[in-house]
Amino acid sequence: MIRTPLRPLARILEARANGENPDAIEHQNRRIRHEQMRDRDRNRAEGRLLVLGVFFFCAFAVVGARMGLLAVSDPVEPRAHAPGSVIANTRADIVDRNGNILATNLDTHALYAQPPHMVDREGAARKLAKIFPDLNEERLIKDFTGKRKFLWVKKKISPEQMQAVHDIGDPGLLFAPRDMRLYPNGKLAAHIMGGASFGREGVRAAEVIGVAGAEKYFDDYLRDPANAGKPLELSLDLSVQAASERVLDGGMKLMNAKGATSILMDAHTGEVISVVSLPSFDPNNRPRPAVEGDASDSPLFNRSVQGVYELGSTFKIFAAAQAMELGLVNASTMINTAGPMKVGGHRIGEFHNKNYGTISVSQIIEKSSNRGTGRLALMIGKERQQEFLRSLGLFDKSSFEIIEASGSTPLLPSRYTDLSAVTISYGHGISTTAMHLAAGYAAIANGGRAVKPTLLKQNGPVMGDRVMRADVAAASREMLRSVVVGEDGTASFGEVPGYFVAGKTGTADKPKPRGGYYKDKTITTFASMFPAHDPRYVLVVTLDEPVETSSGKPRRTAGWTAVPIAAEMIRRVAPLLGMRPAIEPAEVAGITLTSSN
């Protein structure tokens, strides 16, 4: 480019000759040059803006078009990627501690009808009623010939029924795939499993939701595909559970009881190995909840966590343990249990108005003296008693992981007086569940650490807060042992050779719904642990309204009802738990070596 000079000599000379200022020429030329430079820059910038604009337009157009395409296309699974494992869209299984299946899924179908597509409506209705005897033929005809365009006929059908419906051959009868929850063990651990039903239902699939028990408590876990179908491992042991149910069922019938519950708990971890509540039900076909009458009469009622009752003398050991913990007494301190004893204007009596005189703390537990533990409670004081019982978890609802445990809140006196402290020391005036009691006894059994009952398998020891010294727990266990083997022990039927059972009986009159107590209805409890010198398990057996009539005279105390059942249960269950008896076994003739599998 030829640069135009700012001061062209010809024009300068001419201007000088004319007497004009030659600088004006330079200014003019400079202005023209700047204008040209400005125009050039503007053109270039405009061009660049245009290119950039086109680029952005194209980029956004591509993004928009892709979004539009994604929005209108049908979803497809990625075909090219092989997933590491099958995507778990089914509810996770529930297994026991050894991996035995407690709940699983089964593919099945639901049957639905689209009447507008049906060929022979009345004929189809007639044939359906023949296949499914529980369907009403007139009702079906009315549904099929009416205005309805869609209706569910059956929620679950078997493969044979499905084939039979296929054979009808009507194009308006269609099948929807379903996942059915199956409890292969039937009634076993029914209250823990609870049951499942369908949530939102569609033609292609239906939600399976838990309605009770662990199925409901762990619903989120079981439904979460992120768990990749990992089964939920419970602490239950299938064979122990089956044996416990068998023994308790037999015992309940022998003792003419209305209901029964048993809890077997690992004293160190709080794992519940078996928990039975009778009467029971089949979770595959869960009965409807009772709408009238007492809730505890329904088989759905879970006595182990919903049965909030006064558990009687089983609480006495807590008073004795706390008195020893505080250094007020030791096992051989003599306490005067003679009457009369009045607290807050109420007379404290003994069972059958007995009088034990002055006896040691150990004998108070062995003979189950109300006045004895009452005196201990007065020595301890109501504040310290509340603190101790709370630390054992007896004041709060149970942490046991089934949905019914939310109904396990203990009933406490509204005003905690000295009288309350005395009655609570022998298990009256406080209503708890058997699960609470088992947790309290587990603390004594494991050497003084609080235990939270759990339904989940634990992978190691669980160390709770210390609630009493180890030597106090050991002394308490000795007292409980004397209840079983002592001369005057109330649980003399509880001894199982080789397993050193220790425990405490409790018999409480049942409260009437309108106040007062029944004279001929009791709740009997035996809370035990074994083996006494190094307890591994805690067993609580509770019977509702038992009566033992073998001698002609009705007996309603725990020693005659709950204790023999608990002993039989330990005899059956301890070998299953892998515990060998600690004495020399009886003479065994000819054991031969066989393979075991």
């Binding site: 090219a80 299946i101 699983t104 899924n105 089964l106 292969p184 076993l188 005899r571 076994p585």
Partner: protein, 116 residues
């Protein structure tokens, strides 16, 4: 020279098109195979689930107990009992055979008369 380049380019395009055509079909075939395998896996899992459910159902404690009771005469199965725990030294192992006697030693009774 230029026409040679044109011909070579055209041949290159034809070759690439042929390659892309074959790759496309090969990909489709692999994808279909993958789909089939996925479906088979799904079916196998479903079958497995049913078999496991059936196994659990057939082995439910109630049924096993009933079977043990039905076949008691043949099997003599009893519930596990504390008495049944044994010690290792109570197990009767078969007694090993005596080694053959190769170098016998003469003792004084060798020449004794047979009492019978």
């Amino acid at each position: 020279m230029r026409s040679v380049i044109y011909v070579l380019t055209a041949l290159g395009v034809i070759g690439l098109a042929f390659w892309a055509y074959r790759e496309n079909y090969a990909t489709q075939a692999v994808l279909n195979n993958t789909d089939r395998l996925h479906a088979e896996t799904r079916e196998a899992y479903a079958r497995l689930a049913i078999l496991r459910a059936e196994w659990a159902f057939q082995n439910r404690p109630d049924r096993l107990r009933d079977l043990a009771e039905l076949n008691f005469e043949r099997l003599q199965l009893l519930p596990l009992h504390p008495d049944q725990f044994g010690q290792m030294d109570e197990v009767q192992y078969p007694i090993p055979d005596l080694l053959p006697i190769t170098n016998s030693i003469d003792v004084s009774t060798m020449n004794a008369e047979d009492p019978l």
